[in-house]
């Protein structure tokens, strides 16, 4: 009986000791982990600080303006471009033509929607207004949309059936209206105009029809790569391939991405 009691207590003590031992090591482990995490947090905070500083540095309006002047055709906004909401007159009720009167060929869509792909259409729409000749009535005829647009379509359907504007000078238009083709143009092709300049030349022999787009050539915008129809589907990937390296090597060489180094170098220490 006495031996059993001893056994019981002894076992209990040993078990408690074991658990304590284990716990203590666990705690040590956790503490090390915590310290590591804390160090990491500090490090992250420091690099966040560096990134914030770099963001502000790169966002310096002086620099932005220089870049904008060099690479964009955008100009500072002028007061005349702003209108107060109440200055715009309400549309008179009788000026709205009933929808039935809309000519069947002209769908009630913005004329800029040239690339009907889901993702690209927005890009194209955003860029296209800068190209002045896209909507010029002279060389462009709207390819007739499928008849029967009388009833309103859901937006995606409408985009699919949107009339594709094709320059009249192009010989064929049959395969061009295929909207799926436009999807192949990657957004990588939409690089700044100046950066894309060499690609334009390399693409020209591949797509001889592009040469006929005389009015497009001088003021060509990147979106025209997306918008311009090419005669055969084969050259399209080439154009993309040619444009992609151009996108990687724009005329403007960004500085090395050693962000902290860049900043600290700017600090001008140890002068």
């Amino acid at each position: 009986m006495k031996g059993k009691t001893w056994l019981f207590w002894g076992g209990l003590i040993a078990a408690a000791g074991g658990v304590l031992f284990q716990t203590s090591y666990d705690v040590q482990d956790l503490e090390e982990k915590l310290a590591g995490l804390n160090r990491k947090i500090v490090q992250e905070q420091e690099s966040i600080q560096v990134l914030k500083a770099e963001w502000s540095y790169l966002n310096d309006p002086t620099k932005l303006e220089q870049m904008a002047q060099a690479y964009l055709t955008l100009k500072p906004t002028e007061p005349r471009q702003y209108l107060a909401m109440d200055v715009i007159p309400m549309r008179p009720a009788d000026a709205v033509p009933p929808p039935a009167l809309t000519p069947p060929g002209i769908a009630p869509l913005p004329p800029m929607v040239l690339a009907p792909g889901a993702g690209n259409s927005q890009l194209a729409a955003a860029r296209a207004p800068a190209a002045p000749n896209n909507n010029a009535a002279a060389g462009i005829v709207p390819v007739s949309a499928p008849v029967g647009l009388a009833k309103p379509l859901p937006m995606e359907k409408a985009l699919e059936r949107a009339p594709v504007v094709v320059p009249a000078s192009l010989p064929s238009s049959g395969g061009l209206a295929d909207p799926s083709r436009a999807n192949r143009i990657k957004p990588a092709a939409l690089v700044p105009g100046s950066a894309r300049a060499p690609a334009e030349k390399s693409a020209a022999p591949a797509a001889p029809a592009a040469g006929k787009l005389a009015p497009n050539a001088p003021t060509s915008r990147p979106t025209e790569l997306a918008a311009r129809p090419t005669p055969a589907p084969a050259p399209t990937p080439k154009v993309v391939a040619a444009a992609a390296p151009a996108a990687q090597q724009p005329a403007y060489q960004p500085k090395p991405t050693d962000s902290l180094g860049l900043l600290v170098a700017r600090l001008g220490a140890n002068r």
């Binding site: 915590l34 914030k52 502000s56 966002n59 002086t62 007061p79 005349r80 180094g261 001008g268």
Partner: protein, 623 residues
């Protein structure tokens, strides 16, 4: 045996818990057997004494042991049960919002960083631990080419225990030095102040020294606050975009007119916030000492200048506020005013009497002097004091200029002050006072800190609403038909006042060095912002016909600035000829505010010769 057993312990009294270890064996059997077991008998001497002694000893030992054990258990209880003294501090996770730096960021009103602290590594050495200085120096110079070998060697072979070798290494440099593995050379984490906006806000933000103490600008003015609350950034009222526009246009003007400097301020008249403030030439806050120390001078707040004709704003406001003069009153501007040895004259005199509106429109010195003659010196002094021209502006910058005020304030002073000479104030003074003149009469202390949305704005009514209303019309009149036509921006209802002051060098006014300024405000039907430009010593160019006055230098600059700044400030465009706008801004040369009467332009046509350049330098000939 039993008898001994019984008798022995009986003499010990209570055997306590503590006596267990000090058990004294019962006395050995006595050689003399006890004849009778009589306890009450006379104690046997040796045994009794021994028993007595050992009892005392036991008692003392027990007491000592008890005390010690009690102390130990109390201490033990305290250490374990009560709040743990010896317990290691529990490890806690860092708070996420906490900053790692010791100095708060400074941001503009939109949260763009203007100053921040970055953690960098600095290289130091303990020369005692460097075993071979030559070799170490050689290695260090190869890794950090911008170090000088001799310099490093001298540092490494010195007998100090700590020398800086290079502060603020880049991570690449740090890795390179680390790879060398030189004993005695180590890194120390340091903070370095970094200014992402660079020179753009240099005069506002200021800069810090190597020990991160502010030495200029807000860094100095708020040094304590920045150190005490490193977690919360200090938000200024500055808008970086406006700052950029202001600086760009000022730089262009300085270049065009070959000026030696310029100052510009964009000011919110409704709450006294300074939205942009530029002083040219400026400096790089990263390296403020390397440049010409003159670039550190803040012309917008520290520099005090004779403002010239812009002071006619305050002269006119004083005239209206005194109640003695109305806008249609006529004043002689044909005959020079002589006082003592001075003669005050108009450069482009119109040789006739002018209304107050025309005095303002053509910036006539004579008219201004006649007006102050009517009002008196005391009233002028009181008014100028109320406008804040006799003390620093109270801006948060340490660079805050004291105005130069005449003492005593005599009649001749009052004459010259009426057209802006003889009193020198900083551009910030002028802007803050002008804001109070056109915003309904409320003087707001200018501030560089962003006001919180619900905060009460401390204010003081300095001129009446009627005065302020009339001054708005006068401002507008100068831009529609006066000296400031070039500042007009369609849709923004710009108003303003030109100023051209001859610079005083020693005791004389220089003929060809002047300060040209323009104080513009918009929209004048309900003024919101003041744009002020001051150009130091512009030279006349061919385009302006050789003139470099406030109307040819300052006004076009302000026009360009407003054109770009208006959309950013979200100021709505207005139709300048709409009846309700004309109702609130119209004024003609005769001093009438009724625009309907004068629809057919019957207002006194300004003589062509002085219309655009009438703010030509005021002449205070000290002959």
């Amino acid at each position: 045996m039993n008898g001994h057993d019984h008798g022995g312990p009986a003499g010990y009294g209570q055997p306590g818990a503590s006596t267990g270890s000090t058990y004294v064996p019962p006395p050995a059997p006595s050689p003399f057997p006890q004849p009778t077991p009589q306890p009450s008998a006379k104690p046997r001497t040796s045994l009794a004494v021994a028993l007595e002694q050992s009892r005392y000893r036991l008692m003392v030992t027990a007491a000592v042991v008890t005390t010690v054990f009690t102390a130990i258990s109390v201490k033990l209880a305290m250490a374990t049960l009560l709040a743990g003294g010896g317990e290691p501090r529990p490890h806690v996770a860092l708070e996420i919002g906490e900053t790692t730096t010791n100095r708060a960021d400074i941001t503009d009103r939109n949260g763009n960083l203007l100053a921040t602290s970055l953690v960098t590594q600095s290289l130091y050495a303990d020369p005692k631990l460097v075993s071979r200085p030559e070799e170490a120096a050689q290695k260090l110079v190869s890794a950090l080419p911008d170090l000088d070998y001799k310099d490093v060697l001298a540092k490494l072979s010195g007998d100090r225990r700590f020398v800086w070798l290079k502060r603020n290494l880049t991570p690449k440099q740090q890795a390179a030095v680390h790879r060398l593995g030189i004993p005695g050379v180590a890194f120390e984490q340091e903070e370095r102040r970094f200014y992402p906006a660079g020179p753009l806000t240099a005069h506002i933000v200021g800069f810090t020294g190597i020990d991160n103490n502010g030495l200029a600008g807000m860094e100095q003015g708020f040094n304590k606050r920045l150190k005490e609350e490193p977690g919360t950034p200090l938000q200024l009222s500055i808008d970086l975009r406006l700052q950029h526009v202001l600086k760009k246009e000022l730089t262009a003007t300085v270049q065009e007119f070959s000026a030696i400097g310029a100052a510009g301020i964009v000011f919110d008249v409704r709450n006294g916030e300074v939205l942009a403030m530029v002083s040219l030439p400026d400096f790089d806050p990263q390296d403020p000492t390397g440049l010409n120390p003159e670039t550190l001078f803040n012309r917008a707040t520290l520099g005090v200048y004779e403002m010239g004709s812009t002071f006619k704003i305050f002269n006119s406001a004083l005239a209206f506020d005194s109640g003695k003069i109305r806008v249609s009153d006529m004043f002689d501007a044909a005959h020079p005013v002589k006082i003592g040895r001075f003669t005050i004259n108009d450069y482009h005199s119109l040789h006739r009497a002018l209304t107050v509106a025309e005095v303002f429109q053509h910036s006539s010195n004579l008219g201004s002097v006649r007006m102050i003659q009517l009002i008196g010196v005391a009233a002028q002094k009181a008014f100028m004091t109320k406008m804040g021209f006799t003390r620093p502006t109270g801006l948060e910058l340490p660079e805050n200029g004291w105005p130069l005020v005449p003492n005593p304030w005599r009649e001749i002073n009052s004459y010259t002050i009426s057209f802006g000479h003889g009193i020198s104030v900083s551009p910030m003074h002028t802007v803050a006072a002008a804001a109070s003149v056109i915003n309904g009469g409320f003087f707001h202390k200018p501030t560089l800190l962003k006001r919180k949305a619900g905060d009460e704005i401390p204010t003081e009514q300095v001129v009446s609403r009627q005065t302020s209303d009339m001054m708005r019309r006068m401002f507008r009149f100068v831009v529609t038909e006066g000296t400031g036509k070039t500042a007009a921006v369609k849709g923004y209802l710009v108003g303003g006042k030109t100023g051209t002051a001859d610079k005083q060098k020693g005791k004389h006014y220089e003929k060809n060095s002047r300060m040209s300024s323009f104080l513009g405000a918009f929209p004048m039907n309900d003024p919101r912002y003041i744009v002020y430009v001051l150009v130091d010593e512009p030279k006349g160019i061919a385009r302006t016909g050789g003139f470099a006055t406030g109307g040819t230098v300052g006004a076009p600059t302000v026009g360009r600035i407003i054109r770009q700044v208006g959309p950013l400030l979200n100021v709505p465009m207005l139709d300048e000829n709409a009846p309700e706008i004309l109702n609130s801004t119209y004024l003609n040369a005769a001093g009438s505010t009724n625009w309907q009467q004068s629809l057919p332009p019957v207002t006194a046509p300004p003589p062509s010769k002085g219309s655009t350049v009438a703010s030509f330098p005021t002449q205070t000939k000290p002959r």
